[in-house]
């Protein structure tokens, strides 16, 4: 059995692998969006820009200060996360009581600014970032070749996704977060610093995006507009999964990556749009998304 539906199994499994890797990025990014949306009710249009910043910061730190991949894996998300918290503190907080549409528009403006400024400084052609030595090479399985780095992406993304889900849904900190956004006055009354909690949550969501950016730096082309197209896909993923559902975002992210990978085998041109088609179908059948609660 070397062929399925007339497609060699090696091609199929290769695309499946690529799909899972893309899916890992979708999962990380949509997870961040879902955290920010689910807890703060902010549609973070700057999420793609934060992902891009994560990758750019990694490359720039390496070029300027020689900071290596492992340090960047922690440092870049922290730097970008702090930046995100500044945005939350100085901008988003001031329009907290307004219609949610305004937070969408505000972050859209912020994304335009960040992307535009970086484009003017670095141009849109990609920046090179070489992979750490340890990841050179890969596993040779009988039906496919799995580069070490790709395997690393999948593992680390899964661990981070699961950890985030666990923290928000199962720990005390997560309970504070959910309660604080449910009824912030009551939580204030219990002596919990809700504004700080909100800042931290936004910062954390942004960190997840930046973390995905660091993971992407060695394998994708790093440039100031890398976040703008993936953002729309991730929005679709979040809608399919059900807005605000943490687990839904993770599972749907991986699933959409795989669907995209398969589409590449059978109808390559359509692979960039298949997710939107899935979204339309899901919405017609289940308006609140696969994992969303009925609104």
């Amino acid at each position: 059995m070397t062929e399925i539906l007339g497609v060699p199994i090696a091609v199929l499994s290769g695309q499946l692998l690529l799909g899972i890797i893309n899916g890992s990025f979708y999962a990380l990014l949509s997870l961040g969006l879902a955290v920010i949306f689910g807890l703060l009710k902010i549609i973070n249009f700057a999420h793609g820009a934060m992902y891009m910043l994560g990758a750019m910061v990694t490359v720039i730190m390496f070029d300027v200060m020689g900071i290596n991949y492992w340090v960047a894996l922690f440092l870049a998300p922290v730097v970008v996360g702090c930046f995100g918290m500044l945005i939350e503190y100085f901008l988003l907080r001031r329009i907290a009581g307004q219609d949610h549409i305004y937070s969408l528009l505000l972050t859209f403006g912020v994304a335009l600014m960040i992307q535009g400024i970086l484009t003017n400084i670095y141009g849109v052609s990609g920046m090179r970032y070489s992979m750490p030595e340890i990841f050179k090479g890969g596993f040779r399985l009988d039906f496919m070749y799995l580069p070490y780095y790709r395997a690393w992406i999948i593992c680390v993304a899964l661990v981070v996704c699961f950890g985030t889900w666990f923290m928000i849904e199962k720990t005390k900190l997560g309970a504070y977060l959910r309660a604080g956004t449910e009824d912030s006055q009551l939580m204030q009354g219990f002596g919990i610093n809700v504004p700080l909690l909100v800042s931290l949550t936004y910062g954390f969501g942004v960190m997840l995006a930046a973390f995905a950016g660091v993971l992407a730096a060695p394998v994708y082309s790093v440039n100031p507009v890398m976040g703008s197209n993936i953002l729309i896909v991730v929005f679709a993923v979040v809608v399919i999964g059900g807005m605000g559902s943490i687990a839904g975002a993770i599972i749907t992210g991986l699933l959409m990556g795989v669907i995209e990978g398969f589409t590449k085998v059978f109808y390559p041109e359509f692979s960039s749009a298949v997710i939107f088609l899935v979204m339309v179908i899901v919405l017609l059948i289940r308006p609140s998304g696969l994992f969303g609660k009925e609104a």
Partner: protein, 331 residues
């Protein structure tokens, strides 16, 4: 008895205020129209036409955001649908008169709008925004792949043709007055809709949807109709734009265009008739001025900064803020 009298007195003065307000607005509109008629003598006509096309686009968009409270992040799809349909028809069938091409483009955008509405209308607020955005991406993909759009290159050299078969639109002056006429028509249509009983229901939906439902209005139907009209007018703007510039490109379908029309409307003032026109004028002008100067590469960040500033500091927009100011100082 006495009470009723004072009440009717009050009503009279209120009606008087309303009438005076209407008269003032009418005069303002007539002055603007007169300026627009005279404008080509001073300002480059093609530039004015660009402003008018985008102004119509923004007016159409505002019917949705400003009067129905629905934020569509996919209006670029309609602009492009109108533009591509008109462009394709006018380039392939030389027997077609220009207005037929434009009508076909508008019809195509209207149909597309109905499709969007069916999928998206059950969701509200940001959900609605994200779904329209994703649908528009699907449409974008169709435009990249479809054989009749010229893919990445777009359609070039679309003939302007003859209006009604005998007015040569290659003449820029004729073209300008045609665009102006269509724009005024679209503007008046939106004005009529907004001031009609139907428009009142739309505003009610915007302010308090559950209450509109409980009053017995079929809210979804009202929203669908508003969406379809808005899409059709956006398509009309796209068709006009294609005829004026003789090209249709993927730029019009890109989601940045959807963002830009939001900026125009927000900046000018959502929920005011004149706001989108002012906003479109401002943004088109700004982009043009910037592209002429040393800041040509900084258009995006500057637009982003204006976005942030508008949302933070004056959400009512230019026209909205002026109205608020007038209201405060008049009474």
């Amino acid at each position: 008895m006495n009470n009723a009298e004072t009440e009717s007195e009050l009503q009279k003065t209120m009606m008087g205020h309303l009438k005076a307000d209407r008269r003032r607005k009418l005069i303002l509109n007539l002055v603007i129209l007169a300026l627009l008629i005279l404008a080509p003598a001073v300002i480059y006509a093609t530039f004015l036409m660009k402003i008018l096309c985008f102004a119509l686009f923004a007016v159409a968009f505002n019917l949705l955001l400003g009067y129905t409270g629905l934020l569509s992040f996919g209006h670029a799809a309609f602009l492009a649908a109108g533009g591509y349909t008109t462009g394709y028809l006018l380039s392939s069938y030389s027997g077609l008169t220009t207005e037929m091409g434009i009508i076909a483009g508008t019809a195509a955008a209207t149909a597309l709008g109905a499709l969007f509405a069916i999928v998206a209308i059950r969701r509200q607020g940001i959900y609605f925004a994200m779904i329209t955005l994703a649908l528009a991406q699907l449409v974008y993909f169709v435009f990249v792949q479809a054989p009749f759009t010229g893919g990445e290159d777009g359609l070039h050299g679309v003939p302007r043709g003859h209006l009604f078969g005998f007015i040569d639109l290659e003449n820029n002056v004729a073209m300008y007055y045609f665009v102006l006429a269509v724009f005024v028509g679209g503007y008046l249509l939106v004005q009529r809709i907004v001031n009609s009983p139907y428009g009142q229901v739309l505003k009610a939906i915007k302010q308090n949807e559950p209450r509109a439902v409980s009053l017995g209005y079929n809210v979804d139907r009202y929203k669908v109709i508003a969406f379809v009209i808005s899409a059709g007018l956006a398509g009309l703007a796209g068709s006009l734009k294609t005829v004026v510039f003789q090209l249709a490109s993927l730029n019009d379908a890109h989601w940045h265009m959807s963002g830009e029309v939001i900026l125009m409307t927000l900046l000018g003032g959502t929920g005011t008739l004149l706001g989108p026109v002012v906003g479109a004028t401002f943004v088109v002008n700004l982009e043009y001025q910037l592209s002429q100067g040393p800041l040509g590469d900084w258009v995006d960040p500057i637009l982003g900064a204006i976005f942030v500033l508008t949302v933070m500091a004056f959400r009512s927009g230019i026209v909205g803020e002026i109205q608020n100011f007038m209201r405060k100082n008049m009474s």
